[in-house]
Symmetry: C2
Subunit: 132 residues, 2 copies
């Protein structure tokens, strides 16, 4: 079974050094959504946090030796499903970023950990158990 996706937009950032994780990032940038999806952005407001699902487009090919990896910031190796490494069976990332402004199809964001040019697959509202 194959699943085929098409990006809805791309990340833009001038930052050359990208933090290892969104939880420790204050890097700013933009998500530029394709014009055809503009109406779907309607209820996103500055100040809110969003979940961004994206494609690790520069990750090397996954091989089975990488089922266990040692993250750069860690002393111990861990199973790939317990770490946030971009090198994974399906190179899909998930980050939570803050929306600082909206300008047409451009979301200005803060707290990103994606490279410039990263294909964005989906944007979701940030939902926590407390809001259920």
């Amino acid at each position: 079974m194959k699943i085929e996706l098409t990006p809805i937009g791309f990340v833009r950032t001038k930052a050359k050094s990208i933090p290892r994780h969104w939880t420790v990032s204050d890097v700013e940038g933009e998500i530029v959504i394709n014009e055809e999806y503009k109406e779907g952005l309607r209820d996103i407001k500055a100040g809110q946090h969003i979940v961004v699902i994206f494609y690790f487009h520069q990750s090397p090919q996954f091989t089975h030796e990488l089922l266990v990896q040692k993250p750069h910031h860690s002393k111990e190796s861990k199973g790939v499903f317990s770490i946030c490494s971009p090198v994974r069976p399906n190179p899909i990332g998930m980050s939570v970023v803050e929306v600082t402004g909206i300008d047409g199809c451009t979301l200005h964001i803060k707290g990103l950990d994606m490279l410039d040019g990263t294909p964005v697959i989906d944007i979701k509202p940030m939902v926590t158990m407390k809001e259920a």
Copy 2:
């Protein structure tokens, strides 16, 4: 640009009625991971929460009239990127579930909102800002 993914496993549940969202679910089931990825599950422990990225395999085809939708439980229509609808430009879901046990390649889970047979794309650790 096309992104092609292959499921790492599938959701199994006997539940016939699936809650609208994981935040309001106590449904139990399993994620059965393909044998080839077993080593990647190594550090997942019973009692922890995991992020599951999956494919909405039974969603109808997305059309542009669906860029704004009214969720069943809501009185107002919203842009698709502000709601958790399974009908979205890329039909990718994200849920947080509790691991209640591990048995080889099978993760016993609780709190699921996926249908039986849902293809699983990735499993990630649950990370919050506090853990940064």
